[in-house]
Symmetry: D2
Subunit: 334 residues, 4 copies
């Protein structure tokens, strides 16, 4: 399977490297970035034969089977549409877009073209969360009643990014909204967001918040909660618990090693893996393997366009709830 | 110090036994219960010299220094008032009452008499939660930003009790509201309760809920959450986390032993201590020791009448929030 | 049941207090110590009516049912013999004595008198180790194959004590030898001790060692190991593992609380309970309750004279092994 | 860097795959195995251009930079010698050989040829053990006093393998002997082995044991212990502890996920990773990366020929100790 990668930033490089080295049978035949030097650097390192500044140059390649979109969010729907029209299968990073109309039109183009579209909710492919999902499906904890997600970043992004990110709910919590839908296997119907600026006043000045507790009501009755912070000084904090009629399953953070050091001062261990590239390195490979398999063997992608849209809708509802200080039903978002 | 105990139910027996055996220098000189046999049984076992069915008979004893009130909730304020008028120091189980007017009048009687009143929020005296409180005070986790309390009972009480308990928020969550105030050291200003009947439909028929997620806003800006269930099949689930600008502190459940058993099936341990008598046995002794010390040495009681009232007010706000499906400010409760 | 306590040192005070306050239905009617002030101080605090400097004064009391011996090791056998001849039941701290002939004569006096003798191997009554023993008995880990005991003190005793203690193997490891026999339920047949002075050269100058690894061979084929140190800077380290054909069971240290604190520096917890008085507070009560039950209800004591002797024999074999740098069979000790 | 792999068994395939996919800049240009089908299967899967049944055909290739030896133990020294004479750098699986004379002659050939030789003690490259080694080097636990290694396989190898393996001490414990030297950074001087047949009588009939406790004395005074079993039903058990004057560091097993499942039956987690291919997948990549780096950049290999020999010598001493039931000094082995 031959792939072109659009975007040579942090995630673009990661996907390109995974496709080049860790997924047998695939090759990256081109990489595009508006910053040519970035594209060239990655191409050289990974022996990718073609470099472009205009993604159309790569999407048009007849031998390309799929397009992996890792460019800026506001370019996603155009590239999806172009790729779909060119008959290429598509892997697109989250969020699809911040505008529901544009998302809908892109998804229509995908449907019309009959190509596959997978959205980059990589955390679904993490062994810990997958184990929780399996437990829910198998009924190991009975009927789910409560979901609690802790999702805290080690440090906030630059203020320049905060200003264009669409806000914490569609930039950061979007992963947790998808995780919530994935773990519980039911749609979110109502959202209540309690949030504040506690980490950095500049985030507030940019119109966003940095600390949030979001309450979810699912169609199947489950009550969910998501605990977000832009700054956990001890590192990336990514834990979940599903509590049900027959028990509870919860996961811990991932650590670089399991060593426990006991001294006269304390019994301690090293900090958890600091951020997503370390913590989710395996899940990035896994999601791409599943995408490759879906394309090559013709099955369903594990995370589709509707999943991508739905997470944005929940994010918008969360923002509306925060602004209006009341629970908001998803049906209010259009 | 000489004490009379009013109420010979489960908690009355516990306090009587702790006073008799585990707190040096105190003695129980009388126990009252409307059920004379219950009072007699405990009196015999613990060698308590006097038994009464009418609590006035014990409160009137000139040699009694203090009254420990463990009777039904609707008798609390009358007994507090009578004890205060008799000049006795008072330890009273939670909740003080379900009516704010009656609470206010009882607290006035206490203030007028100049006696001490301690409310039985025993969890404040648990070594785990005390450690969290100490960390917050010392700034070990910086400025607190988030509080999460998990508080799940192993099994719901009888429906007959549910009907008169005042509901989950003032019966069960009341401990967590007090814990929230204790750990954060700031007043709760707003409450949002999402709740449902998931454990037993009969609880819903009795007008109550059995599963709840409650969002708290504190005066100092902290966002709190409380996760309640009337039924955790694995036993009593009592954990907290305080997350702050410099880190996080979280506590685990208490177990009967630390043994880990690895077999071909799993790596497992025994279930946590099942319920409050086991889990909080030490905290019950500690709270009574502190009450005895406050009486004998003349200092402040660690949990006063205002604490007792405030937890009821938050409980009422939580119920109102659940009924009206919106966040409720405590100032709305009167 | 009426008890006299001989010895008002640390352990004597502990047992006296447990008997006075925490074991219903028993009373301490006298306490003796060659240091009268020590005996008097404890008597006053616990309201013990009689004080003596000569233990014969208490053993002779007709109303005394039992004698609890907590005096210096070299007085044990004389007191056991005197108490047995006076028809009193006996609880004696470890070790019985450092001379096997004296031990044998004392045990004969006990047998002749038909009184009960329990040796103070309190760790058998710790919930963690009891859980391991239960697992072995129930076959939860199949047929035991390996036993590993970690037993490290927080700090060495004074050199003056080291000189008269009989050495680490009969002073400190003796508890572990008894634990080994208790957990495996089989007799030790051979011992190999590898040991050194690593903590304090003064211990070596006193003719003892402070760090040891002892290999045990049991009659049922189990291979055991004991890891001893006189100084673990992080506190009292007391863990065991039994590995068998169907799995493994291991226990952790006991901590003052379960709080985990995550900061930018580490993920840490407070140190384990520092030493035996904290760690084994519950087991001291439990062993004495079982002694009282055995006396009052007429059953077997849980730790008898043979257990007391056997631990000394293994300790002697360990010393001989260390001196002769070879495995030593218990049959070589006489 | 161009590599040929000798041996297409389990480990040969693993190294070939790591070299082909996970180590940038290296390529496998040939693979040899006396079983041609095995070599061919791997060559096809990994697109290796050359296949041979006689390793000489590959060692003679002028473009080959290095030889990775994964064939049967009794072929190692011949291949090492041939590769050295051909001027190729060498990576050789453990043990080098079971005969010290042959080991010495092979090491001489390597030295004479001036090529690099790395022995496959992959566990040194595991993040857990590396963290322990770092702690020792940095003095995080002070001066090391005790080392304890737990090393248990999930199941014994086939009896046919047991018969030719050289016995548990040079086949299985050899990894632990190397780990002991690595962690403590000092040479082993004396060994005492207590061992038995507990897992399978057929292992005893083949002249070997399956359960062992080995005591080590290091030149720097540290006392070590190794706990081996051929069968831990719960999976691969690989843990270490180093205890020192300023504290202790210990590592846990590796698990497929961190999920804890609490039900009415127990609080449990999934079994640890079952065996070395899963547990040490990362360490196999790491060791080969270090070998490649040493060859390409000209530095020291991290595990040299002396390390390979020394582990065999300790294994022989352990066997002698077991046979003669006494501690054996390494100087007795020649």
């Amino acid at each position: 399977m031959k792939v072109v990668v659009i975007g040579a930033g942090r995630i673009g490089k990661l996907h390109a490297e995974n496709l080049a080295y860790r997924i047998p049978g695939t090759s990256v035949i081109g990489i595009a970035d508006v910053n040519q030097a970035a594209a060239q650097e990655t191409a050289t390192r990974l022996k990718i034969p073609r470099v472009a500044t205009d993604y159309h140059d790569l999407i048009g390649l007849p031998e390309a089977d799929a397009v992996v979109i890792c460019s800026a969010t506001d370019t996603h729907t155009d590239i999806i549409t172009a790729a779909a029209q060119a008959g290429k299968h598509i892997f697109c990073e989250k969020p699809i877009d911040l505008n529901l109309g544009r998302i809908d039109r892109a998804l229509e183009a995908v449907e019309k073209a009959g190509v596959k579209l997978q959205i980059g909710f990589n955390r679904r492919f993490d062994p810990n969360f997958r184990r929780v999902r399996d437990a829910v499906i198998r009924g190991e904890v009975g009927t789910p009643q409560r979901l609690h997600i802790i999702s805290r970043d080690p440090a906030p992004p630059p203020i320049s990014y905060v200003k264009v990110s669409g806000g914490i709910f569609v930039d950061m919590t979007i992963h947790d909204f998808d995780m919530a839908r994935y773990l519980i296997g039911s749609e979110i119907e109502e959202v209540y967001a309690s949030a504040a600026v506690m980490v950095d006043p500049a985030i507030g000045e940019a119109g966003d918040v940095d600390t949030a507790l979001i309450v979810l009501r699912f169609a199947n009755g489950v009550i969910g909660s998501i605990d977000n912070s832009r700054k956990a000084v001890y590192g990336y904090d990514q834990r979940v618990e599903v509590f049900g009629s027959e028990g509870s399953i919860q996961t811990e953070n991932n650590y670089p090693n399991s060593a426990i050091i006991s001294t006269a001062a304390s019994v301690r261990r090293d900090l958890p893996l600091n951020f997503f590239l370390e913590r989710y390195s395996e899940s990035y490979v896994n999601e791409m393997k599943d995408f490759v398999t879906a394309v090559e063997e013709g099955g369903e992608v594990p995370v589709g366009g509707f999943d991508g849209k739905q997470a944005v809708v929940v994010g918008m509802a969360a923002r509306k709830s925060f602004d209006e200080k009341r629970p908001v039903r998803l049906s209010e978002i259009s």
